[in-house]
Symmetry: C2
């Protein structure tokens, strides 16, 4: 991609809005100078922030709108009120109209998904969207999906997740044939619901050229890096993610308490400060910020609503990489290369 990466930002999204979004974009721009931004939202608020970031100002165009979707609005309400007018809609619409390669928003997840689906439509062969993100593991990083876009789903849905997650991993980690595992409550063949066992059978039988199916992975296998891609429906994916985040926070809290208990432990903390800094860096949830909405005819990235500028910059980075390495084309290729791979349902139908 010789031309610049064009990123559309919902400058009003998130708990804080422009004063986080704009500095965040500036940080990401400093890492990827070949980026152009379209900034949608209240131009007065945006310009006030841009004044502090001249390099970003030079790389941006501001498109004013008064309408912003709040974090509390229900998806249906957001669609009614914000369709065609809100900063969120306009950012997505820029992708649809080919004016941007990717849209990034820290706004209301439900509204973002509803608008993305309504405006961009689903890819052929994909019924329902998914959210995928990078999960730091002991072996490096893995892509985990679905983190909460769609509750439940049949074998066909899980197959679609495997293919899209595989595409994302091959783009992000530069892998020819990423390994893919299905999240389950045991590694034996008999474990899990019928849809999971059926998906396993299909993945094994189809032996797709673009991904290597490695079997079932249990909840603790994610952190071990048991596969490059971990696939599950959105309910358990979200629970896994939040349970892991909660545990990390809990341990951090325990550790802080334990270290401040006596003068000896306090001295120990001073000496080992760099180790704790390294640990904090490694576990920094901001670094895993940026969930990619998959299954749509366009790339949309969701940032945590409560993150700061540094955190939002990571979500913009994710958007940059997805666009730069052309995730969408990759997914389309994968879907097509297998002909009607995702329409197949019985293993005997494939060679």
């Amino acid at each position: 991609m010789p031309q610049k990466v064009r990123i559309a930002l919902d400058a009003m999204g998130g708990d804080v809005g422009a004063s986080v979004i704009i500095p965040g974009a500036a940080v990401s721009l400093s890492r990827h100078p070949d980026t152009e931004f379209l900034l949608f939202g209240d131009s007065a608020l945006i310009e006030a922030q841009l004044a502090k970031h001249p390099a970003l100002k030079a790389a941006s165009r501001v498109i004013h709108t008064d309408v912003a979707i709040s974090m509390q609005e229900k998806p249906s309400q957001a669609l009614r009120r914000g369709r065609r007018t809100s900063s969120m809609w306009l950012a997505i619409d820029a992708v649809k109209k080919g004016k941007a390669d990717v849209a990034v928003s820290a706004g209301n997840t439900g509204a973002l998904m509803a608008m993305a689906r309504f405006n961009l439509h689903m890819l052929p062969g994909i019924d329902r969207p998914a959210i995928a993100a990078v999960w730091p593991t002991m072996r490096g990083d893995s892509v985990v999906l679905d983190l909460g876009a769609t509750i439940g789903g049949d074998a066909h849905h899980l197959m679609a997740l495997a293919v899209m997650g595989g595409a994302m991993a091959s783009v992000l980690f530069n892998l020819e044939r990423p390994t893919v595992g299905l999240l389950n409550i045991g590694v034996e063949e008999v474990k899990g619901g019928e849809e999971i066992r059926e998906a396993a059978e299909l993945l094994r039988a189809m032996n797709l050229p673009q991904l290597e199916y490695v079997g079932f992975v249990e909840g603790d296998g994610i952190g071990k890096g048991a596969a490059d891609v971990i696939v599950t429906e959105g309910f358990s994916g979200n629970i896994a993610l939040k349970a892991a985040e909660g545990t990390a926070r809990q341990i951090n809290e325990f550790l802080r308490e334990a270290l401040s208990r006596t003068w000896r432990t306090k001295i120990g903390y001073l000496f080992a400060k760099n180790a704790f800094k390294a640990l904090r860096d490694k576990l920094d949830p901001r670094k895993s910020n940026g969930g990619v909405l998959l299954g749509l005819r366009g790339v949309v990235v969701k940032s945590h609503g409560g993150t700061d500028a540094e955190g939002f910059a990571y979500a913009v980075d994710v958007g940059y990489e997805m666009a730069h390495y052309d995730l969408l084309t990759k997914i389309n290729q994968m879907l097509n290369r297998n002909g009607s791979a995702l329409v197949q349902t019985a293993p005997e139908d494939v060679s």
Copy 2:
């Protein structure tokens, strides 16, 4: 309960068997001297271990059997081969025949559940079993269920889990009216599958005297101690538990690495050793060992198969407490006190 607590042990269960089970029982006995044991398994192996633990020997009766269920056997296979003869079956059967108050096994989970269900039968109003365990949180401990006994389930099933988990929490934590939350992917009313929203409505409408329903809890709410009891079906419960365990292990590994990197961090480690010891103690997975099989006409406790004697002792402790405080009667009371509480399905049917 003035008389002793009688615990039936599957002395062959687990990855190792008698050489973990017997020393584990000895540790638990030292904490609860008012315990009697029935030890089922290969008497030669058991007696060899008992010789090293005279106090336990004095408090135990050994019942010999040659048949042991392996960790790999499928439930159906285990039932066929080990019914009426295996150490696992006989331990459960002692509970059924009233010769023991509780059975504890570190054996094959699927086989244990199948045998317990087959031999003890379900409680009236309960369709399917659950596994509950204690989860250490920032506020103390919570009971979390189902950790993997039953995949999926309707609103009725989730209600049953709430009532049984509530009984366990009130027994374990000595609470009049434990708080109960439903695990979900958001706290708003519209989140989650239909069965969860329906269960929430029922719990709110019924306003049971023995538990206080506090709403939806997200995955990171478990570690925060958002409720005394966290209820979810077995797939997501298992995923949450394993994801949390995996994260704890991962952080521990990162920390170990970070601390051994330079001479400064090594010195820091030496000074802060006690803090790390406290953290390790707090997070020791052995201390949360012991999952209680709920929904049966008898109490059965499942220990991790891979634990050591210290870990198995915690599972025996759980069995002791469940029997000592008469969990089963408590559950029955709860089920009865509300008349047909669990048979109700529409909120308007209850006052």
